[in-house]
């Protein structure tokens, strides 16, 4: 019995040379495709629709999804699909700017705390603790109180509000890398601290930033939508996803599509950036080990 099985077992399937598409690749591919479309829509929305997102057509108000208006129309007869497509630019800009701000802030704190000596380490740890103990959204809400509503205040509020969470991660990473065996090995070779920081600590500590940044875009869009929803973002009737949700809220009983589709765009964007971030992470880790 075994004599028959074993030769068959010993014969290995020849190793794959070409990467083969499996079920595991479908998600990342779809995510990449969606993100590509999103960027295209942000740069040139007219590629996808010729309808003016702001054009009022009172006769067509509150139309459900149909062939002429796939996502329906809002209370003034504006086409929801066109508004979602045109909203891509705002949302993407919001997401990218906010996460850039948050990560820059986090990075500066982490560097000061991680490389600035014992006192700096303690202070940064304390500062992050304090900032972290006020929920990001509440912090952002407070900031909008001072800065007023609008896109730029929104970016600042979200970016600074979420900086503490990212700061903790980056700070932890800097500390971990600082204690890594290869940093000690470099020290033992007689390299100067500045060289060690540039050659080892920075690149290794900030490797996860790419992944965090990618995933963060989606998260920032969700958070900014929460504030826009409360009326703290762009003023209606701007074609911005969060603002659209805020407008749809009053009509949710009659016109669910006004709420559903902009929200769907947010959710899918968040999913796509999450999946893209995870794939990037796998890619980076695979390259290293």
């Amino acid at each position: 019995m075994t004599d028959m099985i074993l030769p068959a077992l010993r014969r290995r399937v020849p190793g794959f040379i070409m990467p083969v598409l499996t079920l595991r690749h479908v998600g990342p591919l779809l995510a990449a495709f969606y993100l590509l479309l999103l960027v295209a829509a942000a740069i040139a929305p007219t590629l996808f629709t010729h309808i003016d997102p702001m054009a009022i057509e009172p006769r067509d108000a509150f139309q459900g999804p149909s062939l002429s208006h796939p996502f329906g129309t809002d209370q003034s007869g504006r086409d929801v699909l066109a508004r979602v497509i045109h909203g891509a630019r705002q949302s993407l800009l919001l997401g990218i700017s906010a996460i850039t701000l948050a990560l820059s802030f986090a990075t500066v704190l982490a560097l000061v705390g991680g490389l600035g000596g014992r006192l700096a380490e303690k202070s940064v740890r304390w500062l992050l603790d304090v900032m972290f103990s006020i929920p990001s959204l509440v912090l952002a809400l407070l900031f909008t109180a001072t800065l007023g509503s609008g896109i730029v205040p929104l970016i600042v509020a979200i970016g600074v509000g979420s900086a503490a969470g990212y700061g903790r991660i980056v700070f932890g990473q800097v500390l971990a890398v600082r204690r890594a065996g290869y940093v000690e090995a470099a020290r033992a070779l007689g390299h100067a601290p500045a060289g060690i920081i540039v050659r080892h600590i920075l690149p290794n500590a900030f490797r996860p930033l790419i992944v965090m940044g990618t995933m963060g875009i989606g998260q920032m869009i969700v958070w900014s939508a929460s504030l826009s929803f409360l009326g703290l973002g762009a003023r209606p009737p701007a074609a911005e996803w969060g603002t659209m949700l805020s407008m749809g809220r009053d009509f949710v009983a009659e016109a669910w599509w006004m709420t559903f589709f902009p929200g769907l765009a947010i959710v899918v964007t968040m999913l796509a950036t999450t999946i893209a971030g995870r794939s990037l992470q796998r890619l980076i880790e695979g390259r290293v080990s």
Binding site: P135, S226, T259
Partner: protein, 316 residues
């Protein structure tokens, strides 16, 4: 050797000190925001811009609230009052901040507790039976990723539309009755549950490879007992750590949820206070939230030590 109770006392003091600094920082932040907010606070005190106040009344009010003193003095007075537990009066509600908190906090705390239960139930039911199972695993995992990406307010609106307006199963608004809390709790709990499930799934997967799991199996334990009695406990810590953050996320998201479901609560109150520049109320609510957060952190720490007794030996 230092006696055990002294070490515990020391750890407790360190925690209390940390909590105090957090509260202090939160209070300072509120003060700074108050100073930076455009508009004359006296006008807000007197009831907004609509009041036709004479310069004399303004000056009197300004003096009465100490607003004519130098900033450092104002800051000192502000801190002293807070330290004495005087949160002052809400400008917009014309009642003591403490009274506002007393009536608005319970509904929010109830909502958060319910949402928290929803989140952990979701996280555990979705992970414990499915990790490393051929079909259920990937399906549950995708479900978790999607849930974690749902904005609570959007989920809330959809739930409202589907279950209140279309099917009429739950009341669309209000704070009365058990039924009124179901939809808001789901809207808040499901996204948080997605996050919790994601980290729990990862740690559960790692814990399945622990040698002690192999030992347990070699004892003849069945899969269910192995997962529930050994693996789960090893997999809980990341979720517990995330829970403290989750409490913060719940408070933040409660703002929109309470607006959507027209519930009483400090989230809604905070939003109204921020929009109305009602700074005593803002400060009161922010401090209250920071306190919740501190207590949550404290409980999470306690729970961590219960789950992993080795931590007790390491820290403190």
């Amino acid at each position: 050797m230092i006696p055990f109770f002294l070490r515990v006392a020391h750890a407790f003091l360190a925690k209390a000190l940390n909590a105090f600094t957090v509260l202090f920082a939160a209070a300072t932040l509120c003060f700074v925001v108050l100073q930076l907010t455009p508009g004359d606070p006296v006008l807000a005190i007197l009831g907004g811009g609509s009041v036709n106040a004479t310069p004399e009344t303004l000056a009197v009010a300004r003096h009465e609230y100490g607003l004519d003193r130098p900033l450092p003095v104002q800051y000192g007075l502000y801190l002293t009052r807070l330290a004495q537990g005087q949160f002052g009066n809400s400008f917009s509600q014309h009642m003591p901040v403490v009274d506002v908190l007393r009536s608005q906090a319970p509904p929010t705390l109830e909502l958060m507790a319910a949402a928290f239960i929803v989140a952990w139930l979701f996280a555990l039911l979705s992970t414990v039976p499915t990790v490393r199972r051929r079909w259920f695993g990937p399906v549950a995992s995708s479900l978790e990723t999607i849930s974690a990406g749902l904005p609570p307010f959007w989920l809330g609106l959809l739930l409202l539309w589907a279950f209140s307006f279309e099917f009429g199963l739950f009341p669309p608004a209000g704070t009365r009755g058990v039924l009124s809390i179901v939809l808001p709790a789901l809207a808040l709990g499901i996204p948080l549950g997605g996050f919790l499930a994601q980290v729990t799934r990862e740690s559960f997967d790692l814990a399945l490879d622990e040698p002690c799991v192999l030992t347990a199996r070699a004892r003849g334990m069945d899969e269910r007992a192995v997962r529930l009695r050994h693996v789960l406990r090893h997999a809980l810590l990341p979720g517990v750590d995330l829970s403290a953050w989750g409490i913060g996320a719940l408070v933040g998201n409660a703002v929109a949820i309470e607006m959507i479901f027209s519930r009483k609560g400090i989230g809604r109150e905070l939003f109204l206070a921020v929009s109305g520049h009602d700074m005593p109320l803002v400060a009161g609510i922010i401090l209250f939230i920071a306190a919740i957060y501190i207590i949550a952190g404290f409980l999470a720490d306690l729970l961590r030590r219960l789950i992993d007794p080795r931590l007790k030996a390491l820290h403190s």
